[in-house]
């Protein structure tokens, strides 16, 4: 088994009595594609918020590359190599698409706190942004304001922004959520490319089971804030406990085409 990149120990958060994440102990292995599934409200996004530092746990620890990062700020965690996208689209709406990506690249490449050098001086950032735009198939959208893109395009932009950070682990929260059905295969392709081209560790939250099956090396099932089981996509989708948890939800039947 490969090296552990992220480890949570007894991770718990209490929202006024509701344990949205309850004693979660998982390990994410380097170079693997791990997907978290679970019914709505299972605590998947909350788990991401705890790992990325948006929320502080009531109990438990988050360990990244062997270091306890539980008390670090989001910013410090990004610097250590944790990049995330959000379930609800989260871009800079009044800046151009190109500028959104350029800013992500600038964050990674540390131009420092320069206040009197034009940002245009950093040509390599501009070129890298253009390249990333091509990678996520948004090359003809560079000069559009990010807020004017349709939902699917914004999701691709978000992916590009996370990729720009070249993180050691990518946390992707439902990158296909709200996408038109015909756009989903493109996103799948992009995710497959990301998985293959870069030796990336990816942690994905996803509902669409055919996507999960195609992409995942391993699947974690979260129910009511706790880990129900972990295994390959085939294993978990045949697990009677998992089927029971989803009963009525019908999520396992949801497909992309």
């Amino acid at each position: 088994m490969s090296e552990t990149l992220i480890e949570t120990k007894n991770l718990t958060i209490n929202f006024g009595g509701l344990k949205a994440v309850n004693k979660v102990s998982i390990s994410i292995h380097k170079g693997l594609f791990t997907t978290i599934i679970g019914p709505n409200g299972a605590g998947k996004t909350t788990l991401f918020n705890l790992i990325s530092g948006l929320l502080q746990p009531t109990e438990g620890t988050v360990i990244f590359k062997g270091t306890d990062i539980t008390r670090l700020s989001p910013m410090q965690r990004v610097a250590m190599g944790i990049g995330r996208s959000f379930q609800l689209t989260n871009v800079f709406p009044t800046l151009t698409v190109h500028e959104n990506i350029r800013l992500a690249l600038q964050a990674k490449n540390r131009t420092g706190y320069r206040i009197f050098t034009s940002y245009k001086r950093f040509r390599s950032l501009e070129e890298a942004a253009t390249k990333l735009l091509e990678d996520v198939l948004l090359h003809d959208r560079g000069n559009f304001l990010a807020g004017s893109l349709n939902h699917g395009e914004q999701r691709k932009l978000e992916l590009a922004m996370v990729l720009a950070l070249k993180p050691d682990v990518l946390l992707l929260d439902e990158p296909t959520a709200g996408m038109a059905l015909e756009e989903v295969p493109t996103m799948l392709e992009l995710l497959e490319k990301t998985k293959k081209e870069q030796d990336n560790t990816i942690l994905l939250i996803e509902h669409k089971m055919d996507l999960v099956t195609k992409l995942s090396d391993t699947v974690i099932v979260l129910v009511n804030g706790s880990v129900l089981t972990r295994g390959t996509a085939a294993e978990v989708s045949e697990d009677p406990e998992v089927l029971k948890a989803y009963l009525g939800g019908g999520i396992l039947n949801e497909t992309t085409a």
């Binding site: 990049g83 959000f86 800013l103 600038q106 420092g112 009197f116 950093f122 922004m161």
Partner: protein, 337 residues
């Protein structure tokens, strides 16, 4: 000097048409004092100086999304610093230099401390906390100025003499114009710097900026220090123009005037503040002249509110925004027609 020319040639990327228009505008502005009376000359000098105050506010609200209700403290504070030093030490150029240094150092320090308190929170509650804390800072400075009667003459206002070089109104116009041009270039460089771009990202979505790894609080502190110092520089120039300081310069209304300049001209554009200042100052001046007709024209606050509401309703992007819209529809018509 070489560095400055370098900056200008390499970074002042303007299109030829824009350059021509700017040149024409400059010629007009250079001619104005030669063909107009003292009132107009002083009004324009005032506009040039207050425009810097407006631009400094735009850096905060327009570019970074910070609501600073105490911003006038930097402007009025610097006017007082200059006035008090001229009175106590003497109206010489050395004292002016001392006043500039004192105002810059103090405004940088106060901006830093203010930001440490104001930028603690994030999200909506953070915005409210920031507004309240900056308001408190502004009120503390205003109250201090009212209390230190020995130095400030309290509510009566402080009159002072200024270095001889600035006493000529005609020349003062040109100093103010040069000051405006220099500060516009400096602030334009600032908003176009990598740091300036991050400020715009913070304005759009601070949380996302944090999750790209930006220490957003540090960037907001930089914005406040730069805006505070720019505002202080305008305050010093204002002292040279008016030779008078009173606590009105330090009130929330004074800050709200700066807000109005940016809203009327167009926020987040920098130049909008210049146009907005011109528009508001000329409107305010015309109203003063109508004071004889009816007493209502002396109630600036009523017109302040009216302009504010009209602009927000009919020109949400200010004069510059309306201009761009006209330009865009004109281009469209040209294409189709």
């Amino acid at each position: 000097m070489a560095a400055l020319t370098n900056i200008i040639s390499k970074n002042l990327t303007v299109k030829p048409v824009q350059a021509l228009l700017l040149f024409l505008l400059l010629v007009i502005l250079l001619i104005i004092p030669m063909i107009s009376g003292m009132t107009t000359i002083t009004l324009f000098s005032r506009i040039f100086i207050l425009a810097i105050f407006g631009m400094s506010y735009d850096i905060l609200r327009g570019f970074t999304g910070i609501i600073n209700l105490g911003h006038a403290l930097f402007f009025g504070g610097a006017t007082y610093i200059a006035g008090i030093l001229f009175n106590r030490v003497g109206p010489t150029l050395d004292v002016l230099l001392l006043a500039i240094i004192t105002a810059f150092v103090l405004s940088a320090i106060i901006a830093y401390i203010m930001g440490q308190f104001a930028f603690r929170g994030t999200g909506f509650s953070g915005v409210i906390a920031c507004a309240m804390i900056t308001l408190a800072f502004g009120e503390i400075v205003r109250h201090t100025a009212e209390t230190l009667r020995d130095y400030t003459q309290g509510a009566d206002g402080l009159t002072f003499r200024i270095p001889e070089m600035f006493q000529d109104r005609f020349m003062m116009y040109y100093y103010a114009l040069i000051f405006l041009i220099v500060m516009t270039i400096v602030l334009r460089q600032f908003v176009r710097s990598p740091t300036g771009r991050v400020l715009q990202a913070i304005r759009d979505n601070e949380q996302r900026a944090r999750f790209l790894g930006y220490d957003t609080k540090k960037y907001k502190l930089i914005a406040l220090v730069v805006a505070g110092m720019a505002s202080a520089s305008a305050g010093i120039m204002f002292a040279l123009l008016t030779r008078f300081a009173n606590t009105e310069l330090l009130t929330v209304q004074s800050t709200l005037n700066a807000l109005l300049y940016t809203i009327v001209g167009g926020t987040g554009t920098l130049y909008g503040a210049i146009i907005g200042t011109g528009f508001v100052q000329i409107a305010q001046n015309s109203l003063l002249e109508l004071r004889g007709i009816h007493e209502i024209f002396s109630r600036w606050l009523i017109f302040f509110g009216a302009i504010y509401v009209l602009v927000v309703l009919y020109m949400p992007k200010g004069i510059i925004g309306a201009f761009y819209q006209l330009h865009a529809s004109w281009q469209k018509r040209k294409k189709h027609g």
